[in-house]
Amino acid sequence: MTYALSIAELCGLNILLALSVYATLKVGQFSLAQVGFWSIGAHCTGMLTSMYGLPLLPALLACGVFCAVIGVLLGYPCLRIRGIYLTLATVAFSEVVRVFFHNFEFQVMRGAVKVGPAGSVGFRGIDVLTAWPQILTVVLVVLCVFAWIERSRIGLSANAVREDETAASCAGVNIVAVKVGMFAFGAFIAGVGGGLFATYTSFVSSDNFGFHLALISIFYVAVGGTERFYGPILGAVLLTVLPEALRVTGNLRMVLYGVIVVVLMIMFPRGLGDELRVRLGALWRRRPAVQPTVTAGR
Protein backbone atom coordinates (compact mmCIF):
# COMPACT_ATOMS: atom_id res chain seq x y z
CA MET A 1 0.00 0.00 0.00
CA THR A 2 2.75 2.43 0.89
CA TYR A 3 4.52 1.44 -2.31
CA ALA A 4 1.48 2.27 -4.41
CA LEU A 5 1.08 5.50 -2.47
CA SER A 6 4.63 6.59 -3.12
CA ILE A 7 4.16 5.85 -6.82
CA ALA A 8 1.04 7.99 -6.75
CA GLU A 9 2.95 10.79 -5.02
CA LEU A 10 5.66 10.59 -7.66
CA CYS A 11 2.99 10.69 -10.35
CA GLY A 12 1.64 13.86 -8.81
CA LEU A 13 5.03 15.53 -8.87
CA ASN A 14 5.69 14.47 -12.43
CA ILE A 15 2.26 15.74 -13.44
CA LEU A 16 3.30 19.16 -12.22
CA LEU A 17 6.53 18.99 -14.20
CA ALA A 18 4.62 17.91 -17.29
CA LEU A 19 2.00 20.65 -16.90
CA SER A 20 4.70 23.30 -16.55
CA VAL A 21 6.12 22.26 -19.92
CA TYR A 22 2.61 22.12 -21.35
CA ALA A 23 1.94 25.72 -20.34
CA THR A 24 4.61 26.99 -22.70
CA LEU A 25 3.74 24.47 -25.40
CA LYS A 26 0.24 25.91 -25.44
CA VAL A 27 1.59 29.10 -26.96
CA GLY A 28 3.81 27.19 -29.36
CA GLN A 29 6.99 27.58 -27.34
CA PHE A 30 8.85 24.32 -27.03
CA SER A 31 10.76 25.13 -23.87
CA LEU A 32 13.20 23.09 -21.81
CA ALA A 33 13.61 25.81 -19.19
CA GLN A 34 11.15 24.28 -16.75
CA VAL A 35 13.80 21.92 -15.42
CA GLY A 36 15.83 24.97 -14.47
CA PHE A 37 12.83 26.45 -12.65
CA TRP A 38 12.18 23.10 -10.96
CA SER A 39 15.75 23.23 -9.67
CA ILE A 40 15.41 26.83 -8.48
CA GLY A 41 12.12 25.99 -6.76
CA ALA A 42 13.62 22.92 -5.11
CA HIS A 43 16.67 24.71 -3.77
CA CYS A 44 14.86 27.85 -2.69
CA THR A 45 12.03 26.02 -0.93
CA GLY A 46 14.56 23.77 0.73
CA MET A 47 16.45 26.79 1.97
CA LEU A 48 13.39 28.71 3.12
CA THR A 49 11.91 25.81 5.03
CA SER A 50 14.95 24.08 6.41
CA MET A 51 17.26 26.99 7.00
CA TYR A 52 14.80 29.72 7.93
CA GLY A 53 11.92 27.74 9.29
CA LEU A 54 9.27 29.04 6.92
CA PRO A 55 6.11 26.92 6.71
CA LEU A 56 5.53 25.06 3.47
CA LEU A 57 2.80 27.13 1.85
CA PRO A 58 4.47 30.55 2.07
CA ALA A 59 7.77 28.99 0.97
CA LEU A 60 6.13 27.41 -2.06
CA LEU A 61 4.32 30.60 -3.00
CA ALA A 62 7.46 32.67 -2.60
CA CYS A 63 9.42 30.29 -4.81
CA GLY A 64 6.64 30.14 -7.35
CA VAL A 65 6.49 33.90 -7.61
CA PHE A 66 10.29 34.15 -7.71
CA CYS A 67 10.38 31.68 -10.59
CA ALA A 68 7.56 33.51 -12.34
CA VAL A 69 9.53 36.75 -12.17
CA ILE A 70 12.62 35.04 -13.60
CA GLY A 71 10.29 33.55 -16.18
CA VAL A 72 9.18 37.02 -17.24
CA LEU A 73 12.81 38.20 -17.40
CA LEU A 74 13.64 35.17 -19.50
CA GLY A 75 10.51 35.36 -21.60
CA TYR A 76 11.08 38.87 -22.90
CA PRO A 77 14.36 38.28 -24.74
CA CYS A 78 12.93 34.99 -25.94
CA LEU A 79 9.95 36.67 -27.60
CA ARG A 80 11.64 36.97 -30.93
CA ILE A 81 13.23 33.53 -30.81
CA ARG A 82 11.14 30.84 -32.45
CA GLY A 83 11.03 27.10 -32.82
CA ILE A 84 14.16 25.08 -32.30
CA TYR A 85 16.13 28.24 -31.49
CA LEU A 86 13.89 28.81 -28.49
CA THR A 87 14.38 25.22 -27.36
CA LEU A 88 18.13 25.66 -27.47
CA ALA A 89 17.96 28.99 -25.64
CA THR A 90 15.95 27.36 -22.86
CA VAL A 91 18.42 24.47 -22.70
CA ALA A 92 21.12 27.08 -22.18
CA PHE A 93 19.12 28.57 -19.30
CA SER A 94 18.62 25.23 -17.59
CA GLU A 95 22.27 24.32 -17.95
CA VAL A 96 23.40 27.65 -16.48
CA VAL A 97 21.05 27.05 -13.54
CA ARG A 98 22.52 23.57 -13.11
CA VAL A 99 26.08 24.88 -13.09
CA PHE A 100 25.08 27.63 -10.68
CA PHE A 101 23.69 25.27 -8.08
CA HIS A 102 26.52 22.84 -8.68
CA ASN A 103 28.81 25.50 -7.26
CA PHE A 104 26.46 27.13 -4.80
CA GLU A 105 27.35 26.66 -1.18
CA PHE A 106 25.42 28.38 1.53
CA GLN A 107 24.87 26.82 4.89
CA VAL A 108 23.63 27.94 8.29
CA MET A 109 23.77 26.27 11.64
CA ARG A 110 20.52 24.81 12.83
CA GLY A 111 21.01 23.49 16.24
CA ALA A 112 24.17 21.50 15.98
CA VAL A 113 23.94 20.70 12.31
CA LYS A 114 24.96 22.57 9.21
CA VAL A 115 22.06 22.78 6.77
CA GLY A 116 22.04 24.14 3.28
CA PRO A 117 23.08 23.58 -0.31
CA ALA A 118 26.59 22.25 -0.41
CA GLY A 119 27.58 22.62 -4.03
CA SER A 120 28.33 19.46 -5.90
CA VAL A 121 27.48 17.26 -2.94
CA GLY A 122 23.90 18.49 -3.03
CA PHE A 123 21.44 19.76 -0.48
CA ARG A 124 20.77 17.23 2.22
CA GLY A 125 18.55 17.26 5.22
CA ILE A 126 15.64 19.23 3.87
CA ASP A 127 12.66 19.00 6.22
CA VAL A 128 10.12 16.55 4.92
CA LEU A 129 6.92 18.56 4.77
CA THR A 130 5.25 17.07 1.75
CA ALA A 131 3.24 13.92 1.28
CA TRP A 132 0.23 13.05 -0.80
CA PRO A 133 -2.17 15.63 0.69
CA GLN A 134 0.04 18.56 -0.29
CA ILE A 135 0.83 17.14 -3.71
CA LEU A 136 -2.79 16.34 -4.41
CA THR A 137 -3.95 19.81 -3.37
CA VAL A 138 -1.45 21.58 -5.61
CA VAL A 139 -2.20 19.27 -8.53
CA LEU A 140 -5.92 19.88 -8.19
CA VAL A 141 -5.47 23.64 -7.99
CA VAL A 142 -3.26 23.67 -11.07
CA LEU A 143 -5.73 21.43 -12.91
CA CYS A 144 -8.57 23.81 -12.11
CA VAL A 145 -6.57 26.70 -13.46
CA PHE A 146 -5.85 24.82 -16.68
CA ALA A 147 -9.46 23.74 -17.04
CA TRP A 148 -10.44 27.38 -16.73
CA ILE A 149 -7.81 28.55 -19.18
CA GLU A 150 -8.77 25.99 -21.77
CA ARG A 151 -12.35 27.19 -22.09
CA SER A 152 -11.66 30.89 -21.77
CA ARG A 153 -10.34 33.82 -23.76
CA ILE A 154 -6.80 33.11 -22.59
CA GLY A 155 -6.92 29.61 -24.04
CA LEU A 156 -8.32 30.99 -27.27
CA SER A 157 -5.57 33.57 -27.55
CA ALA A 158 -2.93 30.99 -26.66
CA ASN A 159 -4.16 28.65 -29.39
CA ALA A 160 -4.20 31.49 -31.89
CA VAL A 161 -0.64 32.47 -31.01
CA ARG A 162 0.46 28.86 -31.32
CA GLU A 163 -1.10 28.41 -34.75
CA ASP A 164 -0.11 31.66 -36.41
CA GLU A 165 1.42 34.55 -34.54
CA THR A 166 1.11 37.05 -37.37
CA ALA A 167 -2.57 36.34 -37.97
CA ALA A 168 -3.24 36.39 -34.23
CA SER A 169 -1.50 39.70 -33.86
CA CYS A 170 -3.44 41.20 -36.78
CA ALA A 171 -6.63 39.95 -35.16
CA GLY A 172 -5.83 41.93 -32.05
CA VAL A 173 -4.31 39.31 -29.77
CA ASN A 174 -1.64 40.72 -27.46
CA ILE A 175 1.18 38.35 -28.39
CA VAL A 176 3.63 39.62 -25.80
CA ALA A 177 1.24 39.28 -22.90
CA VAL A 178 0.15 35.79 -23.94
CA LYS A 179 3.64 34.40 -24.56
CA VAL A 180 5.36 35.95 -21.58
CA GLY A 181 2.34 35.23 -19.40
CA MET A 182 2.25 31.52 -20.20
CA PHE A 183 6.01 31.32 -19.87
CA ALA A 184 5.79 32.83 -16.39
CA PHE A 185 2.89 30.53 -15.52
CA GLY A 186 4.92 27.50 -16.56
CA ALA A 187 7.81 28.78 -14.48
CA PHE A 188 5.51 29.23 -11.49
CA ILE A 189 4.22 25.67 -11.70
CA ALA A 190 7.74 24.30 -12.08
CA GLY A 191 8.93 26.35 -9.11
CA VAL A 192 6.17 25.09 -6.88
CA GLY A 193 6.60 21.55 -8.16
CA GLY A 194 10.30 21.67 -7.47
CA GLY A 195 9.60 22.94 -3.97
CA LEU A 196 7.24 20.05 -3.32
CA PHE A 197 9.82 17.65 -4.69
CA ALA A 198 12.54 18.97 -2.37
CA THR A 199 10.35 18.74 0.71
CA TYR A 200 9.24 15.27 -0.32
CA THR A 201 12.57 13.61 -1.02
CA SER A 202 14.57 15.64 1.48
CA PHE A 203 17.61 15.67 -0.82
CA VAL A 204 18.24 17.56 -4.03
CA SER A 205 21.28 17.64 -6.24
CA SER A 206 21.49 20.03 -9.16
CA ASP A 207 23.02 17.35 -11.36
CA ASN A 208 19.69 15.52 -11.26
CA PHE A 209 18.01 18.55 -12.78
CA GLY A 210 19.88 18.60 -16.05
CA PHE A 211 19.34 17.78 -19.69
CA HIS A 212 18.20 14.23 -18.96
CA LEU A 213 15.34 15.38 -16.75
CA ALA A 214 14.45 18.01 -19.34
CA LEU A 215 14.12 15.27 -21.94
CA ILE A 216 11.96 13.19 -19.61
CA SER A 217 9.69 16.19 -19.01
CA ILE A 218 9.23 16.47 -22.75
CA PHE A 219 8.44 12.75 -22.94
CA TYR A 220 5.52 13.22 -20.55
CA VAL A 221 3.93 15.86 -22.71
CA ALA A 222 4.72 14.36 -26.10
CA VAL A 223 3.56 10.85 -25.21
CA GLY A 224 0.46 12.07 -23.44
CA GLY A 225 -0.73 14.68 -25.89
CA THR A 226 -0.16 18.37 -26.46
CA GLU A 227 -3.61 19.66 -27.34
CA ARG A 228 -5.52 19.37 -24.09
CA PHE A 229 -4.38 19.57 -20.49
CA TYR A 230 -5.20 15.95 -19.73
CA GLY A 231 -2.52 14.92 -22.24
CA PRO A 232 0.46 15.73 -20.01
CA ILE A 233 -1.33 14.18 -17.04
CA LEU A 234 -1.81 10.94 -18.94
CA GLY A 235 1.80 11.00 -20.12
CA ALA A 236 3.22 11.73 -16.68
CA VAL A 237 1.23 8.98 -15.01
CA LEU A 238 2.00 6.46 -17.74
CA LEU A 239 5.71 7.18 -17.78
CA THR A 240 5.98 7.21 -13.99
CA VAL A 241 4.26 3.87 -13.61
CA LEU A 242 6.09 2.31 -16.54
CA PRO A 243 9.59 2.13 -15.05
CA GLU A 244 8.11 0.65 -11.88
CA ALA A 245 6.11 -1.89 -13.84
CA LEU A 246 9.24 -2.79 -15.75
CA ARG A 247 11.19 -3.62 -12.60
CA VAL A 248 10.45 -7.26 -13.27
CA THR A 249 12.75 -7.12 -16.28
CA GLY A 250 15.72 -6.29 -14.11
CA ASN A 251 18.68 -4.51 -15.61
CA LEU A 252 17.16 -3.82 -18.98
CA ARG A 253 14.41 -1.75 -17.37
CA MET A 254 15.41 1.65 -18.72
CA VAL A 255 16.30 0.24 -22.13
CA LEU A 256 12.78 -1.12 -22.45
CA TYR A 257 11.42 2.19 -21.18
CA GLY A 258 13.14 4.01 -24.02
CA VAL A 259 11.97 1.46 -26.58
CA ILE A 260 8.39 1.77 -25.38
CA VAL A 261 8.56 5.57 -25.62
CA VAL A 262 9.81 5.29 -29.20
CA VAL A 263 7.06 2.84 -30.11
CA LEU A 264 4.37 5.00 -28.48
CA MET A 265 5.54 8.10 -30.36
CA ILE A 266 5.56 6.30 -33.68
CA MET A 267 2.12 4.83 -33.10
CA PHE A 268 0.61 8.01 -31.66
CA PRO A 269 2.59 10.96 -32.99
CA ARG A 270 0.18 13.48 -31.56
CA GLY A 271 0.24 11.83 -28.18
CA LEU A 272 -2.01 9.17 -26.72
CA GLY A 273 -4.54 11.58 -25.30
CA ASP A 274 -5.01 13.49 -28.54
CA GLU A 275 -5.06 10.45 -30.79
CA LEU A 276 -7.76 8.85 -28.70
CA ARG A 277 -9.74 12.07 -28.56
CA VAL A 278 -9.57 12.65 -32.32
CA ARG A 279 -10.29 9.08 -33.33
CA LEU A 280 -13.14 8.63 -30.86
CA GLY A 281 -14.46 12.09 -31.66
CA ALA A 282 -14.46 11.47 -35.39
CA LEU A 283 -16.26 8.21 -34.83
CA TRP A 284 -18.79 9.71 -32.47
CA ARG A 285 -19.70 12.85 -34.32
CA ARG A 286 -18.70 11.81 -37.84
CA ARG A 287 -16.78 14.99 -38.21
CA PRO A 288 -13.67 15.00 -40.40
CA ALA A 289 -10.26 15.48 -38.90
CA VAL A 290 -7.85 17.97 -40.48
CA GLN A 291 -5.93 16.41 -43.38
CA PRO A 292 -2.14 16.24 -43.06
CA THR A 293 -0.19 18.21 -45.67
CA VAL A 294 1.96 16.55 -48.32
CA THR A 295 5.69 16.62 -47.77
CA ALA A 296 8.58 15.48 -49.92
CA GLY A 297 9.94 11.99 -50.05
CA ARG A 298 6.83 9.96 -49.27
Binding site: I84, T226, P269
Partner: protein, 302 residues
Protein backbone atom coordinates in the same frame (compact mmCIF):
# COMPACT_ATOMS: atom_id res chain seq x y z
CA UNK B 1 53.13 30.09 -21.16
CA UNK B 2 50.29 27.96 -19.95
CA UNK B 3 47.97 30.11 -22.04
CA UNK B 4 49.71 29.04 -25.22
CA UNK B 5 49.32 25.41 -24.25
CA UNK B 6 45.63 25.94 -23.77
CA UNK B 7 45.28 27.84 -27.02
CA UNK B 8 47.11 25.27 -29.08
CA UNK B 9 45.61 22.33 -27.28
CA UNK B 10 42.16 23.85 -27.62
CA UNK B 11 42.61 24.52 -31.30
CA UNK B 12 43.80 20.98 -31.97
CA UNK B 13 41.17 19.28 -29.83
CA UNK B 14 38.56 21.67 -31.18
CA UNK B 15 38.86 19.92 -34.53
CA UNK B 16 36.99 16.96 -33.03
CA UNK B 17 34.27 19.32 -31.88
CA UNK B 18 34.10 20.56 -35.45
CA UNK B 19 33.51 17.01 -36.62
CA UNK B 20 30.75 16.55 -34.03
CA UNK B 21 29.10 19.79 -35.06
CA UNK B 22 29.38 19.13 -38.81
CA UNK B 23 27.45 15.90 -38.57
CA UNK B 24 24.85 17.51 -36.36
CA UNK B 25 24.36 20.51 -38.61
CA UNK B 26 24.28 18.43 -41.81
CA UNK B 27 21.34 16.45 -40.49
CA UNK B 28 19.61 19.62 -39.38
CA UNK B 29 20.20 21.17 -42.77
CA UNK B 30 18.50 18.36 -44.62
CA UNK B 31 15.68 17.51 -42.22
CA UNK B 32 15.18 20.73 -40.30
CA UNK B 33 15.21 18.57 -37.16
CA UNK B 34 17.80 18.12 -34.46
CA UNK B 35 19.10 14.58 -34.05
CA UNK B 36 19.28 14.18 -30.27
CA UNK B 37 20.74 10.73 -30.77
CA UNK B 38 23.86 12.22 -32.36
CA UNK B 39 25.72 12.21 -29.05
CA UNK B 40 24.80 8.60 -28.42
CA UNK B 41 26.02 7.70 -31.93
CA UNK B 42 29.39 9.21 -31.09
CA UNK B 43 29.49 7.20 -27.88
CA UNK B 44 28.62 3.88 -29.50
CA UNK B 45 31.16 4.38 -32.26
CA UNK B 46 33.79 5.30 -29.68
CA UNK B 47 33.02 2.08 -27.83
CA UNK B 48 33.36 0.15 -31.07
CA UNK B 49 36.80 1.65 -31.62
CA UNK B 50 37.77 1.02 -28.01
CA UNK B 51 36.64 -2.59 -28.30
CA UNK B 52 38.82 -3.19 -31.34
CA UNK B 53 41.75 -1.60 -29.62
CA UNK B 54 41.26 -3.54 -26.39
CA UNK B 55 40.69 -6.82 -28.17
CA UNK B 56 43.55 -6.61 -30.64
CA UNK B 57 46.16 -5.01 -28.44
CA UNK B 58 45.93 -1.47 -29.65
CA UNK B 59 48.38 -0.08 -27.19
CA UNK B 60 51.33 -0.78 -29.36
CA UNK B 61 50.02 -0.90 -32.89
CA UNK B 62 49.16 1.85 -35.33
CA UNK B 63 47.52 -0.68 -37.58
CA UNK B 64 45.07 -1.63 -34.86
CA UNK B 65 44.42 2.05 -34.26
CA UNK B 66 43.60 2.54 -37.92
CA UNK B 67 41.32 -0.48 -37.78
CA UNK B 68 39.61 0.95 -34.70
CA UNK B 69 39.12 4.20 -36.59
CA UNK B 70 37.49 2.41 -39.49
CA UNK B 71 35.32 0.46 -37.05
CA UNK B 72 34.14 3.73 -35.52
CA UNK B 73 33.34 5.18 -38.93
CA UNK B 74 31.34 2.15 -39.97
CA UNK B 75 29.54 1.83 -36.64
CA UNK B 76 28.61 5.49 -36.80
CA UNK B 77 27.25 5.18 -40.33
CA UNK B 78 25.20 2.08 -39.56
CA UNK B 79 23.81 3.53 -36.37
CA UNK B 80 22.99 6.76 -38.17
CA UNK B 81 20.92 4.97 -40.78
CA UNK B 82 19.21 3.00 -38.02
CA UNK B 83 18.40 6.17 -36.07
CA UNK B 84 16.90 7.71 -39.18
CA UNK B 85 14.81 4.65 -39.91
CA UNK B 86 13.44 4.41 -36.39
CA UNK B 87 13.26 7.95 -35.08
CA UNK B 88 12.84 10.19 -38.12
CA UNK B 89 11.41 8.39 -41.13
CA UNK B 90 8.09 7.29 -39.56
CA UNK B 91 7.49 10.79 -38.23
CA UNK B 92 8.17 12.98 -41.24
CA UNK B 93 4.65 14.40 -41.15
CA UNK B 94 4.48 14.92 -37.43
CA UNK B 95 5.36 18.07 -35.55
CA UNK B 96 9.06 18.59 -34.73
CA UNK B 97 8.32 17.49 -31.17
CA UNK B 98 7.84 13.85 -32.18
CA UNK B 99 11.25 13.09 -33.73
CA UNK B 100 12.87 15.11 -30.94
CA UNK B 101 11.29 12.70 -28.49
CA UNK B 102 12.07 9.53 -30.43
CA UNK B 103 15.70 10.46 -30.98
CA UNK B 104 15.96 11.44 -27.30
CA UNK B 105 14.42 8.11 -26.31
CA UNK B 106 16.91 6.31 -28.52
CA UNK B 107 19.67 8.16 -26.73
CA UNK B 108 18.28 6.83 -23.48
CA UNK B 109 18.13 3.31 -24.87
CA UNK B 110 21.71 3.42 -26.12
CA UNK B 111 23.12 5.00 -22.96
CA UNK B 112 21.41 2.50 -20.69
CA UNK B 113 22.37 -0.36 -22.98
CA UNK B 114 26.00 0.63 -22.78
CA UNK B 115 25.85 1.10 -19.03
CA UNK B 116 24.79 -2.54 -18.85
CA UNK B 117 27.35 -3.52 -21.45
CA UNK B 118 30.09 -1.79 -19.51
CA UNK B 119 29.22 -3.80 -16.47
CA UNK B 120 28.92 -7.15 -18.12
CA UNK B 121 31.57 -7.22 -20.82
CA UNK B 122 34.91 -7.97 -19.19
CA UNK B 123 36.93 -5.79 -21.52
CA UNK B 124 35.02 -2.71 -20.41
CA UNK B 125 34.66 -1.31 -16.93
CA UNK B 126 31.58 0.27 -15.37
CA UNK B 127 32.56 3.95 -15.18
CA UNK B 128 35.06 4.53 -17.91
CA UNK B 129 36.54 1.99 -20.26
CA UNK B 130 39.97 2.63 -21.63
CA UNK B 131 40.83 3.24 -25.23
CA UNK B 132 44.50 2.33 -25.50
CA UNK B 133 46.57 3.67 -28.35
CA UNK B 134 50.24 4.07 -29.15
CA UNK B 135 49.76 7.83 -29.13
CA UNK B 136 49.08 8.07 -25.44
CA UNK B 137 52.38 9.32 -24.26
CA UNK B 138 53.60 11.06 -27.33
CA UNK B 139 54.58 14.63 -26.62
CA UNK B 140 56.77 17.15 -28.26
CA UNK B 141 57.78 20.69 -27.75
CA UNK B 142 57.20 23.70 -29.91
CA UNK B 143 59.71 26.00 -28.30
CA UNK B 144 58.86 25.96 -24.61
CA UNK B 145 55.26 24.89 -25.19
CA UNK B 146 54.31 21.29 -24.58
CA UNK B 147 52.05 19.80 -27.22
CA UNK B 148 50.49 16.40 -26.90
CA UNK B 149 51.20 14.29 -29.97
CA UNK B 150 47.79 12.75 -29.88
CA UNK B 151 46.20 16.16 -30.31
CA UNK B 152 48.27 16.84 -33.42
CA UNK B 153 47.31 13.51 -34.92
CA UNK B 154 43.61 13.94 -34.28
CA UNK B 155 43.78 17.46 -35.64
CA UNK B 156 45.33 16.24 -38.87
CA UNK B 157 42.86 13.40 -39.27
CA UNK B 158 39.97 15.74 -38.57
CA UNK B 159 41.19 18.32 -41.09
CA UNK B 160 41.57 15.65 -43.76
CA UNK B 161 38.04 14.41 -43.08
CA UNK B 162 36.64 17.93 -43.25
CA UNK B 163 38.43 18.59 -46.53
CA UNK B 164 37.04 15.39 -48.00
CA UNK B 165 33.56 16.29 -46.80
CA UNK B 166 33.81 19.78 -48.20
CA UNK B 167 34.90 18.42 -51.56
CA UNK B 168 32.04 15.92 -51.51
CA UNK B 169 29.41 18.56 -50.78
CA UNK B 170 30.64 21.13 -53.25
CA UNK B 171 31.85 19.02 -56.17
CA UNK B 172 29.68 15.96 -56.47
CA UNK B 173 26.17 15.40 -57.73
CA UNK B 174 25.11 14.00 -54.37
CA UNK B 175 26.47 17.11 -52.71
CA UNK B 176 24.41 19.30 -55.01
CA UNK B 177 21.36 17.18 -54.31
CA UNK B 178 21.95 17.64 -50.60
CA UNK B 179 22.20 21.38 -50.92
CA UNK B 180 19.01 21.54 -52.94
CA UNK B 181 17.12 19.41 -50.43
CA UNK B 182 18.40 21.66 -47.65
CA UNK B 183 16.89 24.62 -49.35
CA UNK B 184 13.55 23.25 -50.47
CA UNK B 185 12.75 19.55 -50.06
CA UNK B 186 9.38 19.62 -51.77
CA UNK B 187 10.74 21.38 -54.82
CA UNK B 188 13.69 18.99 -54.97
CA UNK B 189 11.31 16.05 -54.80
CA UNK B 190 9.22 17.50 -57.61
CA UNK B 191 12.38 17.96 -59.66
CA UNK B 192 13.17 14.29 -59.44
CA UNK B 193 15.63 14.14 -56.57
CA UNK B 194 15.09 11.06 -54.45
CA UNK B 195 14.81 12.89 -51.15
CA UNK B 196 14.72 9.72 -49.07
CA UNK B 197 17.95 8.58 -50.71
CA UNK B 198 19.58 11.89 -49.93
CA UNK B 199 18.46 11.71 -46.31
CA UNK B 200 19.87 8.24 -45.85
CA UNK B 201 23.18 9.27 -47.38
CA UNK B 202 23.36 12.37 -45.21
CA UNK B 203 22.60 10.44 -42.04
CA UNK B 204 25.17 7.82 -42.95
CA UNK B 205 27.90 10.34 -43.71
CA UNK B 206 27.06 12.66 -40.81
CA UNK B 207 27.03 9.77 -38.36
CA UNK B 208 30.21 8.31 -39.81
CA UNK B 209 31.88 11.66 -39.22
CA UNK B 210 30.43 11.58 -35.72
CA UNK B 211 31.88 8.12 -35.29
CA UNK B 212 35.26 9.39 -36.38
CA UNK B 213 34.97 12.16 -33.81
CA UNK B 214 34.13 9.57 -31.18
CA UNK B 215 37.19 7.54 -32.00
CA UNK B 216 39.47 10.56 -32.04
CA UNK B 217 38.08 11.88 -28.75
CA UNK B 218 38.36 8.45 -27.18
CA UNK B 219 41.98 8.22 -28.25
CA UNK B 220 42.74 11.74 -27.05
CA UNK B 221 41.18 11.23 -23.63
CA UNK B 222 42.25 7.63 -23.38
CA UNK B 223 38.78 6.66 -22.11
CA UNK B 224 35.24 6.14 -23.29
CA UNK B 225 32.09 6.11 -21.18
CA UNK B 226 28.34 5.64 -21.71
CA UNK B 227 27.62 9.29 -21.03
CA UNK B 228 30.39 10.86 -23.09
CA UNK B 229 27.89 11.64 -25.82
CA UNK B 230 25.65 13.71 -23.59
CA UNK B 231 28.24 16.44 -23.00
CA UNK B 232 29.28 16.41 -26.63
CA UNK B 233 25.68 16.91 -27.67
CA UNK B 234 25.35 20.00 -25.51
CA UNK B 235 28.66 21.36 -26.81
CA UNK B 236 27.37 20.59 -30.28
CA UNK B 237 24.33 22.77 -29.63
CA UNK B 238 26.57 25.70 -28.76
CA UNK B 239 28.72 25.26 -31.84
CA UNK B 240 25.96 24.95 -34.39
CA UNK B 241 24.07 27.93 -33.03
CA UNK B 242 27.22 30.03 -32.97
CA UNK B 243 27.92 28.96 -36.53
CA UNK B 244 24.40 29.26 -37.82
CA UNK B 245 22.14 26.22 -38.02
CA UNK B 246 22.88 24.30 -41.21
CA UNK B 247 26.22 25.91 -42.01
CA UNK B 248 28.91 23.24 -42.42
CA UNK B 249 31.73 25.71 -42.96
CA UNK B 250 30.59 27.61 -39.89
CA UNK B 251 30.55 24.42 -37.86
CA UNK B 252 34.15 23.70 -38.84
CA UNK B 253 35.39 27.10 -37.73
CA UNK B 254 33.25 27.45 -34.62
CA UNK B 255 34.28 23.99 -33.42
CA UNK B 256 37.84 25.25 -33.24
CA UNK B 257 36.75 28.47 -31.53
CA UNK B 258 34.77 26.57 -28.91
CA UNK B 259 37.67 24.19 -28.40
CA UNK B 260 39.95 27.11 -27.63
CA UNK B 261 37.43 28.79 -25.33
CA UNK B 262 36.81 25.55 -23.51
CA UNK B 263 40.38 24.58 -22.95
CA UNK B 264 41.38 28.08 -21.88
CA UNK B 265 38.59 28.37 -19.30
CA UNK B 266 39.06 24.86 -17.98
CA UNK B 267 42.75 25.51 -17.58
CA UNK B 268 42.50 28.96 -16.08
CA UNK B 269 39.26 28.86 -14.10
CA UNK B 270 37.31 25.62 -13.67
CA UNK B 271 35.50 22.89 -15.56
CA UNK B 272 31.98 23.87 -14.55
CA UNK B 273 32.66 27.54 -15.30
CA UNK B 274 33.43 26.47 -18.86
CA UNK B 275 29.92 25.08 -19.21
CA UNK B 276 28.37 28.23 -17.82
CA UNK B 277 30.35 30.42 -20.21
CA UNK B 278 29.50 28.31 -23.24
CA UNK B 279 25.79 28.37 -22.49
CA UNK B 280 25.77 32.07 -21.80
CA UNK B 281 27.40 32.51 -25.20
CA UNK B 282 24.70 30.28 -26.71
CA UNK B 283 21.90 32.29 -25.16
CA UNK B 284 23.42 35.63 -26.13
CA UNK B 285 23.91 34.57 -29.73
CA UNK B 286 20.31 33.40 -29.93
CA UNK B 287 19.00 36.68 -28.61
CA UNK B 288 21.26 39.00 -30.54
CA UNK B 289 22.04 37.19 -33.77
CA UNK B 290 20.08 33.94 -34.07
CA UNK B 291 21.28 33.27 -37.59
CA UNK B 292 24.77 32.78 -36.23
CA UNK B 293 28.15 33.92 -37.44
CA UNK B 294 27.91 32.24 -40.84
CA UNK B 295 24.30 32.51 -41.88
CA UNK B 296 23.25 30.74 -45.03
CA UNK B 297 20.74 32.14 -47.53
CA UNK B 298 17.13 32.14 -46.36
CA UNK B 299 15.92 28.63 -47.04
CA UNK B 300 12.42 28.18 -48.38
CA UNK B 301 11.52 25.29 -46.11
CA UNK B 302 8.26 23.45 -45.54
Amino acid sequence: MAVFEYLIGGLLFGATYSLVAIGFTLIFGVLNRLNIAHGATIMVAAFAGAYISLRLGGKASYAVLALAFVASLVTGAVLGVLVRAVAFAPLRNASPLAPFVTSAAMTLVLEEAFVQLSRNVPLFSPEFSTFPSPLENLVFFVGPVLVRGVYVVIFLVAIILMALLHWWITHTAMGRAIRSVEENPTMSWLLGINVRHVEVKVFAVASAVAGAAGCLIGVAMGTVGPFMGANLLLTGFVIIVLAGLGSVRGAMICGLIVGVIEMTIVGMVSASMKEAVLFIILFTVLVIRPQGLFPGPEANRD
